[in-house]
Symmetry: C2
Subunit: 80 residues, 2 copies
């Protein structure tokens, strides 16, 4: 199954990359932006047909490799 996960910086962690994007948008005329935060997106195709087990595997991957849990959170957004 294909599992989609998002990894974002925790709320209180500064996101300088998002800030730069916001400034770039501002320079292009998008003035009404409060905040931009950037994160990572992973689409992982695992050899497992059970949605629950697939989710478990990807959560495990996020915990062990994909996310730095000190400053990041992860969220599984789709399993199909």
């Amino acid at each position: 199954m294909k599992v989609s996960a998002i990894i974002t910086l925790k709320k209180d962690v500064l996101d300088p990359q998002g800030k730069v994007i916001q400034q770039a948008l501002d320079g292009m005329g998008f003035k009404d932006v409060n905040e931009v935060r950037q994160g990572k997106y992973f689409e992982i195709d695992v050899k497992e047909d059970d949605p629950k087990k697939s989710r478990k595997i990807v959560e495990d991957m996020c915990n062990k490799l994909l996310a730095n849990l000190v400053i990041e959170d992860y969220k599984i957004i789709e399993i199909q």
Copy 2:
């Protein structure tokens, strides 16, 4: 409103970064992975209270700055 967008490489575009992540996962014992594809995630807080207009603004941003439409697709996944 906060609009969340995902930008991914188009299906036929090679994703070497995803490949490396897959190899790293393999090295950590996650052997049953068919494919990993990486993308970008943006959470954009716009000064606009109408969901439809907010979506329009962020689609516009994706078209003009955030996504390279030659090799990437974007998708609005959440508006809140």
